[in-house]
Subunit: 386 residues, 2 copies
């Protein structure tokens, strides 16, 4: 087990009606920038519950944060927050709204002499950020309790991240009942997203991090168990609750501790979203199986452990690894998320070259565990997604 | 899954040499009350590493905090801390030193007009506490990252607890190498302690908390795997690291979320320690198997899950449950912690009456999940430990 430091100060309020806790979290008299996406929060009950809990606070609404939040949109929120002199940010939505709101919370108080784009890629230090809270309505990214954010700049086809403990949400509300109106595509995406987040931190090389391995396998097992059920029965509270908590725990931070991590699937996936506008989870589903196949030798021991513990597969390591990858593909397809680029009408050969070019441009020349994947390796992986 | 709120702000620094992080955690110029136990910190390297990291801070030492920390001892530390005007407390030791230091950190700044014993049992509200950090040298209780503490008052045979988020350690250092000089008895105790902590939060009734169940099972599985190994090979870093992390995660807070909890084994155990001075883990080992047997019907579904997932037992629920309890007993015995009172020279019949009397005196008349265990039930359980 490698050395590590761990700190996650976000307070989580989980369950039915927990939006009422906002009343304890945000002081009376606060000036709150309420950020959200396309307006689904008016359908799922979140808006009404949040506004009721915010009685006595001055609320400034900013809607329209898109999936893969765009820099230009976020800058408009920053301008609004500055002119309204807000002192809190409350994100209500999915990972994109949380990610965007982390940027907003940092940028509102940034020295106006500094270009806010410098926040992305951590190219400027942050002295402070506004306090941020959230209400999660789309379980998937874990953004509700971590300090990372991904922002997209459409003009330059950049989808890049920043990380800073200052933007940890002070609190997040996770109410499974608010997820019942989500369309099936977002549920399928959410399950795949949480699954791949876990795999990125687990399916690398053995490292004597036993509780972390078991936690990762427990999250994956739970997603296998409740994924199809929550897709089939949107009003099954317990299935949604388990999906929501599994997705949270996948990126809460504990799975990765002392482990060797990968994250090349995400690096490739981000470029596919920037290039073709695919949903984040779709890019993961078209990348992970082929990355695992491409690195089957490096990852053999962990693939075999995954196949035996998750899929109860018999046989030698190589046989278990091969079938485990097939089962993973089948699971993603069951969740309604295709694993081949052709299913999205994208030419894999052209995409492979484009992804490699983007990775080179972003200086991402050594990816995955051991830093062994070059942009050319990534192109080979994308070609396998034909 | 029941509604819950979760918050754990302790920063954890895990691994070899991580005591050096204290330099980042406690500001230069701080006046630090350094608390410890019987002096083992001079053998295991902790003292030297801590003092090196504290260069530039004023250090006031207070040693001699005993296992099951005694109120009278802690009051002397409070008096010293007040007279030396300390503004930090640094606990270096095991759960008893951490628990005692939580009390010290709260009591030093308590209004002098209030009797500090009122802190115990949460009978007085706390306005503040000194910042507390720690270096864990004995993995077992999870006290390094939670806000509970147990204090013993020998004169009145009371062993009672308090809980307050103000006494969450700001940080804790967990260096497995510091545990290599521990005597086998403390390793055996630590494994049993972590095991029972997990069972108290898990082995009750099914509640659709799937990731939490898997995490609990992962911690228990890890303890089964590395318990005998770490007992046999004290210098096996990876075994100690897994034990240390498993014990931490057992009481970090995540295992219990949304679950129905028990804790009757601890309630009975605390009385046995107060009455007979048994080690905490010894009291758990002589109680848990018989409590599980006594409540076999109420706990049948979860006992069967435990037996199948942890012990791979075949058969119907009742058969699996019975064998699972037998295996648990055998595991505790393997760890050098006997499961019968006679092994400690204690008469179970007299102990049963004494425990029931203590529980009544402390007003603990409805224990365990569902509040179904009366002091008379607890006496019956203790009698089974003959």
């Amino acid at each position: 087990m490698d050395n590590f430091s761990f700190h996650n100060p976000t307070r989580l309020h989980f369950g039915r009606g927990q939006a009422a806790q906002i009343t304890q979290e945000i002081p009376v008299g606060a000036r709150v920038l309420l950020t959200y996406g396309g307006g689904s929060i008016r359908k799922n009950g979140a808006y009404d519950q949040v506004m009721a809990a915010l009685t006595g606070r001055h609320v400034v609404e900013f809607g329209g944060i898109e999936p893969n939040p765009e820099y230009e949109t976020l800058l408009r929120a920053v301008a609004l927050g500055r002119s309204e002199q807000v002192d809190w940010v409350l994100a209500v939505g999915g990972g994109s709204v949380f990610d965007g709101s982390k940027f907003i919370a940092a940028a509102i108080v940034l020295d106006p002499a500094i270009d806010p784009w410098q926040i992305i890629g951590n190219r400027t230090p942050l002295a402070s950020a506004l306090p941020l809270g959230g209400v999660l309505t789309l379980p998937a990214t874990g953004s509700e309790s971590n300090f990372a954010a991904v922002v997209t700049r459409r003009a330059t086809q950049d989808k890049l991240s920043f990380k800073n403990p200052l933007v940890f949400p002070r609190f997040s509300v996770l109410d499974p009942a608010m997820t019942m109106t989500l369309p099936p595509r977002q549920i399928g995406n959410g399950v795949v997203d949480a699954f791949v987040h876990t795999v990125e931190q687990y399916l690398t090389v053995p490292n004597e991090a036993r509780v972390q391995d078991r936690l990762a396998e427990g999250i994956l097992q739970t997603l296998l168990e409740i994924g199809p059920r929550t897709l089939a029965q949107p009003d099954d509270y317990e299935a949604r609750a388990n999906m929501m908590w599994a997705a949270n725990q996948a990126l809460f931070g504990l799975v990765a501790l002392g482990q060797v991590q990968d994250w090349a699937t995400h690096a490739i996936g981000h470029e596919l979203t920037a290039l073709y506008g695919l949903d984040h989870a779709q890019t993961l589903a078209v990348t992970l199986p082929w990355l695992l196949t491409y690195r089957k030798t490096d990852k053999l021991a962990k693939l075999a452990q995954y196949g035996r513990r998750l899929w109860q597969l018999p046989g030698d390591d190589a046989a278990v690894a091969a079938v485990a990858i097939d089962r993973t593909i089948a699971f993603f397809e069951t969740m309604g998320v295709p694993t081949r680029l052709s299913a999205y009408g994208i030419d894999a050969l052209a995409a492979a070259e484009a992804v490699a070019g983007q990775l080179r441009r972003h200086g991402r020349n050594r990816l995955g565990e051991g830093g062994r994947l070059t942009p050319e390796d990534c192109a080979a992986i994308v070609r396998m997604a034909l």
